[in-house]
């Protein structure tokens, strides 16, 4: 495969591994948070940790959209399908995430709720067109990468005057989350720098991280999702740390520019506006960290069309997802990990999502002894 295998080349990897070994100062440790679940999985899937010197550590961040969605929002989505009788369209990753009482969309579906797995917002629009007598809700989740397609769907629905299509909007913003991680009072013991988001940055550009890098004096390297991207970015971070720099550098230049995709940004700005606050699993209530649908598109806002009931939403007791998402704990430090909580029987979202840190540890890395994985 052209343009893929080049980024997984073993000889280049060994070369980079040698350069990283020579670059690290032996008397100090390097803790780098990879923000995105995509990075976490690349690290485990290709065994990148095996190529790192022992004093380079990866700290897994909150960049897994399924994982950071609080139980309350998932409960609301299940309620939409069960109580309001809508056709709920969702990305597949959400299906098995446990809500309150370990109820999930897949269980609701088995009990008769009309929940459909879609691959894109266009599938959801199609379902709405084909079922004019039913209400169709798209369960929108994700960071800046998935937001433009949701905006497109809302604009198309408006142009087509689709009266039975709404969006349950849960889109969240990356830079706000990074700052919040660094502000958290019980945050991770140490983060020396960030592997910055790759696809998110393709949309928003690299400049939104500049303020945080400056304010918290932490280097950020925007890194691609291929294993060589990760390794080169680590080398760049080590260079910054050693030189005492805290800048935003861009390793993923083949996709990311400083100001990103302005057309997508304009589209998002037209359809969405900032929420004052939004609840994140693990991070709590984070100001100005999420989007809601603007008043001019109110007809397509599921939160305005269907009233959510008051309910007590609860996480599974002793699930450490919140601490894992802050980078404060490793998945293997959770009592439930691998014992009662497995991908087949998940207690928390991080064990379900293909971007979750617990799923990456369990599926690719549980052979490592705790000291090795930590």
């Amino acid at each position: 495969m052209r343009y893929i295998t080049e980024f997984r080349d073993r000889a280049l990897a060994e070369n980079l591994a040698g350069r990283i070994r020579r670059a690290v100062q032996p008397d100090r440790a390097y803790h780098f948070m990879e923000f995105c679940g995509g990075h976490t999985h690349a690290i485990f899937r290709y065994g990148v940790q095996d190529l790192m010197p022992p004093n380079v550590h990866f700290v897994h961040g909150p960049g897994c959209p399924v994982c950071v969605l609080p139980v309350r929002r998932l409960d609301d989505a299940i309620e939409l399908a069960e109580k309001h009788g809508v056709i709920l369209c969702t990305y597949g990753d959400m299906m098995r995430v446990p809500g309150t009482g370990r109820r999930s969309l897949i269980k609701a579906k088995a009990d008769g709720a009309d929940i459909r797995m879609v691959y894109s917002t266009l599938d959801a629009l199609k379902i709405a067109r084909e079922n004019p007598d039913r209400q169709v809700v798209f369960f929108a989740i994700g960071f800046e990468t998935t937001t433009p397609p949701t905006a497109v769907a809302i604009k198309m629905a408006q142009a087509e005057r689709l009266t039975n299509f709404t969006v349950f909007c849960n889109h969240v913003l990356t830079p706000a989350a990074i700052e919040h991680v660094l502000d958290a009072p019980d945050g991770p013991a140490q983060i020396d720098g960030f592997l910055g988001p790759s696809h998110v940055s393709a949309v928003i550009g690299s400049h939104p991280y500049e303020a945080a890098a400056q304010k918290y004096q932490k280097p950020v390297v925007i890194a691609g999702f291929e294993p060589l991207d990760v390794m080169q970015s680590v080398l760049m971070l080590i260079g910054q740390v050693n030189a005492g720099r805290a800048e935003v550098e861009n390793q993923y230049t083949r996709v990311v520019t400083r100001f990103g995709n302005r057309k997508a940004q304009a589209l998002v700005a037209e359809v969405f506006t900032l929420r004052d606050r939004f609840e994140w699993r693990g991070l709590g209530s984070v100001p100005q960290s999420a989007l809601q649908i603007r008043d001019n598109f109110a007809d397509f806002d599921a939160e305005r069309r269907f009233a959510a009931s008051q309910k007590q939403s609860r996480e599974v007791k002793s699930c450490e997802c919140p601490a894992v998402l802050r980078g404060a704990k490793k998945p293997i430090e959770c009592k439930l990990f691998g014992a009662v909580c497995t991908p087949d029987n998940p207690m928390g979202a991080c064990m379900v999502s293909s971007e979750g840190a617990c799923a990456a540890y369990f599926s690719y890395g549980r052979q490592r002894a705790p000291k090795d994985a930590a």
């Binding site: 495969m1 893929i4 997984r8 073993r10 990897a13 060994e14 591994a17 485990f44 899937r45 290709y46 065994g47 990148v48 940790q49 095996d50 190529l51 299906m95 098995r96 879609v118 691959y119 599938d123 294993p227 497995t342 991908p343 087949d344 293909s354 799923a359 369990f362 599926s363 690719y364 890395g365 549980r366 052979q367």
Partner: protein
């Protein structure tokens, strides 16, 4: 005859008799089936018999490289073949949905007949039921097969021991990706064809050349990773793979990359995994490669001593990782 299946086709009356005669007997007919008895009658051979059953609910019913008819023969023939048996007879149960076009049904039955002929097996008994529109999905087929085990053949997961070699008979993931490429909400243009095929001919050559093959299994649903994990758990061993050695066609690799899938988790319908003493691995590989269904065979790993019974892989990138069971259901209705 009407153009579509209706409820009278399952009603037990004249219309049903016509369907059986004009579609099923016409294509599947043989000496045993043609007797028209309630059950197929055949002489029991000396030795040991093996028997297996397999239901087929694939969507779509026709896919690049095959259809549910051929698949329903291959699926059960391969279950018998993985024991080292020579398949002899099949039975077939059809559940048809009201409104299903008869011409399509006939294509499916014709395809079953060709697959059975090619495999040298006879379909000696059948059953047809019709369900109301919306209660089925066109056609479901369940086949049951009987085969005879040659003297001295002992293929079982209980023979798997530390140090043995793991082989695969060719490229993985072809079937699952071919089916996926025709799914309504996912259609993509590709040259990938299902590998659906009867494997007992290949198995016969392998067993003849290396009689002490420890075990065979066809990696269908859940793909290579599920099958190897089943083996590791059942045999109480670990398995270590070398990713570079695992054959994957460039088209399948590209499709998986695009869809975020792992070829190791994807179903095959014409591939087998063989485990044999390491000293015999090269000989077995040569025999497999000499057969048309084993041209891309490869030695992909080793059985190891591992109390955790994990399947691990040396990645092409130079690291190591676990190859785990697939959680949930990646591709529903794949066979």
């Amino acid at each position: 005859m009407t153009d579509c299946i209706n409820m009278t086709h399952g009603g037990g009356g004249r219309v049903m008799a016509e369907l059986i005669r004009d579609v099923f007997h016409k294509h599947l007919g043989n000496r045993i089936l043609d007797r028209g008895d309630d059950a197929g009658l055949f002489a029991v051979q000396k030795g040991r018999l093996v028997m297996s059953t397999d239901g087929h609910v694939i969507a779509p019913l026709f896919f690049p490289g095959g259809d549910i008819g051929a698949l329903s023969v291959h699926g059960t023939v391969n279950d018998l073949a993985m024991m080292g048996a020579k398949p002899l007879y099949l039975t077939a149960g059809f559940i048809l949905e009201e409104g299903y076009p008869l011409t399509d049904l006939e294509r499916i039955v014709w395809s079953m007949a060709s697959a059975a002929r090619e495999a040298g097996v006879q379909i000696i008994s059948g059953d047809t039921k019709v369900v109301e529109r919306g209660k089925g999905d066109g056609v479901f087929i369940t086949t049951t097969g009987i085969g005879v085990l040659p003297e001295g053949v002992d293929i079982s997961v209980s023979n798997v021991t530390v140090g043995q070699s793991v082989l695969v008979s060719g490229t993985i993931g072809d079937h699952g990706v071919a089916v996926l490429s025709k799914r309504e909400n996912l259609e993509f243009e590709t040259e990938i064809y299902s590998d659906t095929a009867s494997l007992h001919g290949l198995v016969a050559d392998m067993v003849a050349a290396v009689p002490d093959i420890a075990m065979l299994r066809d990696p269908t649903r859940g793909g290579l990773s599920a099958t190897l994990n089943e083996i590791a758990t059942a045999a109480g061993v670990g398995i270590t793979l070398d990713e570079v050695q695992i054959p994957v066609s460039p088209d399948v690799a590209a499709a998986c990359e695009l869809l975020g899938l792992d070829p190791q988790n994807i179903a095959n319908e014409g591939k087998l995994i063989a485990i044999c003493p390491s000293g015999k691995a090269d000989a077995l590989l040569a025999i497999m490669r000499a057969h048309p269904l084993g041209q891309n065979a490869a030695i992909i790993g080793k059985v190891t001593d591992d109390p955790s019974h994990l399947v691990q892989m040396k990645t092409a990138f130079g690291g190591t990782r676990i190859v785990d069971w697939l959680a949930g259901e990646q591709l529903p209705r794949i066979c």
